[in-house]
Amino acid sequence: MAEVTIPPREAFRLSQLLYDARYRSLTIQVIAAMVLMLSLAWLVDNTVQNLAALGKDFSFAFLWTTAGYDINQQIIPFSSQDTHARAALVGILNTLVLAVMGCILATIIGVLVGVLRLSKNFVVSGIMTFYVEAMRNTPLLIWILIVFAVMTEATPQPREFREGGSAAMILWDSVAISNRGVFVPKPLWGDGSGVVVAVFLLSILGIFILRRVARKRQEQTGQQLPVFRVSLALFFLPALIAFFVMGRPITLELPELGGFNFVGGIQIRNSLIALWLALSLYTSAFIAEIVRSGILAVSKGQTEAAFALGIQPNRTMQLVILPQALRVIIPPLISQFLNLTKNSSLALAVGYMDVRSTLGGITINQTGREIEGILLLGTFYLIVSLIISSVMNLYNSSVKLKER
């Protein structure tokens, strides 16, 4: 064994801070940290001085004072006597409702448009291309305003729904679209409806078990069970049977005209509908592009290889194309969801009371707490986006191709 010779220790020289790999990066980072601290200190100092000059302090106590304003669309009960914190919560829920509804509709439309755009039928693909280009190249705000204008200017007033009026309710007199909003039936849960719901949930559990059993069966014996048809039956039949056995416990309360407006049912404000539609339509154009390029990204060779093995076209889609396409589609899809959520802050344009309008709007105007309010608002959006992007990272690491 050769003896390890340790080079003689040199005396530390100042130039080593810059030219020695051990210290250089540390030096740079320390300098960067100092610069950062100094600038932050400068900003904070300015803020403190400015606040002092205005006679303000920095405190979140305003959250627990009475809000004193009403919120027209609310999921949890809220009155003007409640606190600003609760108003913020109502706003947050409104934002989340809008975002979730938007993501669902946008995905449905987007997948449909994306697949149709790949159609060989040039009339169909032409319409879809037009749709995508029109949506993508025009500001979202215009779409929101246009849809809102359609909802408020081009829909009938409630009184038009009277006998002899020009408007009529749709879907067997259950839904009314008016310039006061869209009125839909409200389900009333009678005695025994819990049983129906429980049966429904159980049958969904049953579907999962069925799939698992079928897969095990296939792995062991090679036999393939008719999973799809059985699942479909399981989904509907047990719940329907329970519904009738229990004596139809769930009924619908239909909206009816009373006075100048509809009563009963659930009123969905036009602002929500307009935002929902505009956000979904706008985002769906981007999703369509993602879906299209995801499918195109799976090379033709993959389809051919599957066909050459004798796998049927629909199985090829399910076993070969989709798993690969989803790998490409899902990450940008999730970031579109994130965009949609952030874009929901445009609710301001049509007066929908989302978190930006409650916490970041009226609350700030009433209390004058600009810094605190915007800080909380930003934190909320940041948390949402961090959650969404960590979901994306999880997905990415779970599907990462094993490569050398």
Binding site: Q29, L43, N50, N137, P139, L346, S385
Partner: protein, 497 residues
């Protein structure tokens, strides 16, 4: 014939190409294959055709029967009824207000208009000085200008009254062209470098010495830095440039002459204005508006965000944990919060963060925040470009002995940025569309102006025509940009093969 020779074959004559059997070509076959190949496909075709028909039959009469000349919405409706039409668009509002939608309340160059197209009434009113001179009567001037504008066509006012924004935008196109199209003469890049100063001067006006001196100061600082860099290394050069910049622009501790924080620039500018006054009428940013505002905010946001975005992307790739952490945090915080919230930061919070008493105009504040916002997105785009570079490029640069900044500047960034251009263009399109949000902080973007137009008694209650016009403006611009970025993407794909 033996069994062996039966598998041997030699072609004697070549078969000439023949046309395919009948029924395999032609329009009918093509339609059968594409439009009616199966029941589903046929249904889809019919459904699509029905959709097109129902949309067109609803929209076309309204569009084509539109009223083009009218003074108000009511007049429009009267004309429509007089023609016996059920629906008709009132395009008259566009006809009358399109200049406002394009430029907001940006003032026209009335002197030029008067001297070119209104010379006789001007002479009759007492000449240029009587109307526009220093001691002239404001009321007379306004009456004169209104009469002139009523007489002149909107096109004349567009080309000559708004020559400053028009020239600025035209020069912008020329300045951007050499960056986007590699085969234009490289000399044009000098214009690209000079454009920020020319653009600021044309849009905002004021003394020519302001932008000119800033440009000179920058050039001097860079020149000094380069001189030092050539002799004693890049780091020393960069520090010199920075030092020179600070001295020239801030003159701290009175390096030159005065004591204390004495910015040199206004002083020299004052002297130069005294010696050689040159300039255009100054226009404050609160008069900017319309589509022009979208172009100014969008372009300056992207251009200013490029250097920051590149640094952030490099920082995010750095091996130094602290630098990486700072860059990642910055990027994620900016991207996690909607632009509209950042705009509110610009309009309400920025004044808290700056030294007491500092106050600058709303447009500049918006541009600063939009720049920061865009830089986070640009950083992600550039990061993609950096990641797309093969590792061998970094290694080759290292093995030749290039240091970090040299290998970035000479090898990595030129290639990474080229890959990133489509992404940068897409970010620009996104940012450009998002400029409509400035309406919420009180700037007059085209959508804000539609509200302003609706607020006038003549056009109260008009929606569609205005929205459609604004939407078409944005669509045209963004559509061509996105086509360009697709063309680039295709070109890059073939280049890299």
């Amino acid at each position: 014939m033996s069994g062996q020779s039966s598998i041997a074959f030699v072609r004697g004559d070549i078969i000439p190409p023949a046309p395919p059997p009948p029924g395999q070509t032609g329009v009918l076959r093509w339609m059968r294959e594409n439009l009616f190949s199966s029941v589903t496909n046929t249904l889809l075709t019919l459904l699509s055709l029905y959709l097109i028909w129902s949309v067109l039959s609803a929209v076309m009469p309204w569009t084509l029967n539109g009223v083009w000349v009218a003074g108000s919405l009511n007049e429009c409706r009267e004309i429509r009824d007089a023609r016996g039409l059920e629906t008709a668009a009132c395009w008259a509002v566009i006809n009358e207000r399109w200049l406002q939608l394009l430029f907001g309340f940006y003032p026209t160059d009335d002197r030029l208009l008067a001297s070119l197209f209104y010379a006789e009434p001007l002479a009759a009113a007492g000449g240029m000085d009587a109307i526009f001179g220093a001691g002239s009567n404001a009321t007379t001037r306004i009456e004169f200008v209104n009469a002139m504008k009523a007489d002149l066509s909107n096109l004349t006012i567009f080309f000559f009254g708004y020559w400053r924004p028009l020239v600025a935008v035209a020069l912008l196109v020329v300045a951007v062209a050499p960056i986007l199209y590699a085969n234009l003469p490289r000399g044009l890049l000098w214009l690209s470098l000079a454009y920020p100063f020319i653009g600021v001067f044309l849009f905002w006006g004021g003394s020519v010495w302001g932008p000119a001196l800033v440009a000179l100061g920058l050039v001097a600082a860079l020149f000094l830095g380069r001189l030092v860099a050539g002799r004693s290394g890049l780091l020393a050069g960069a520090l010199t440039a920075l030092g020179a910049f600070v001295v020239i622009f801030l003159n701290p501790l009175g390096v030159i002459g005065h004591s204390g924080l004495f910015p040199l620039l206004p002083h020299v500018k004052g002297v130069m204005d005294g010696l050689l006054p040159m300039g255009l009428p100054a226009i404050p940013s609160d008069q900017f508006g319309g589509f022009m505002l979208a172009i100014i905010i969008g372009t300056s946001g992207i251009v200013l965000s490029l250097p920051i975005g590149i640094l952030l992307a490099l920082g995010r790739q750095s091996t130094m944990p602290f630098i990486r952490w700072v860059c990642v945090t910055f990027i994620e915080v900016i991207r996690g919060v909607p632009l509209i919230v950042w705009l509110f930061v610009a309009s309400t919070l920025l004044k808290y963060f700056l030294p007491p008493g500092s106050n600058f105009d709303a447009l500049l504040r918006v541009i600063i925040l939009v720049t920061l916002f865009a830089s986070a997105y640009i950083a992600e785009v550039v990061r993609g470009g950096l990641a797309a570079l093969p590792k061998g490029q970094y290694e080759a640069a290292d093995s030749l002995g290039l240091d970090y900044w040299k290998s970035m500047r000479l090898i990595v960034l030129p290639q990474a940025l080229k890959i990133s251009i489509p992404g940068i263009v897409n970010t620009f399109i996104g940012l450009f569309k998002d400029t409509t949000l400035v309406v919420f902080v009180g700037l007059r973007d085209p959508l804000g102006l539609t509200n302003a137009i609706r607020a006038t008694p003549e056009w109260n209650g008009i929606y569609w025509e205005l929205y459609i016009f604004v939407a078409l403006l944005f669509f045209t611009f963004c559509f061509f940009m996105s086509r360009y970025s697709m063309y680039l993407e295709r070109k890059l794909q073939t280049d890299r093969r």
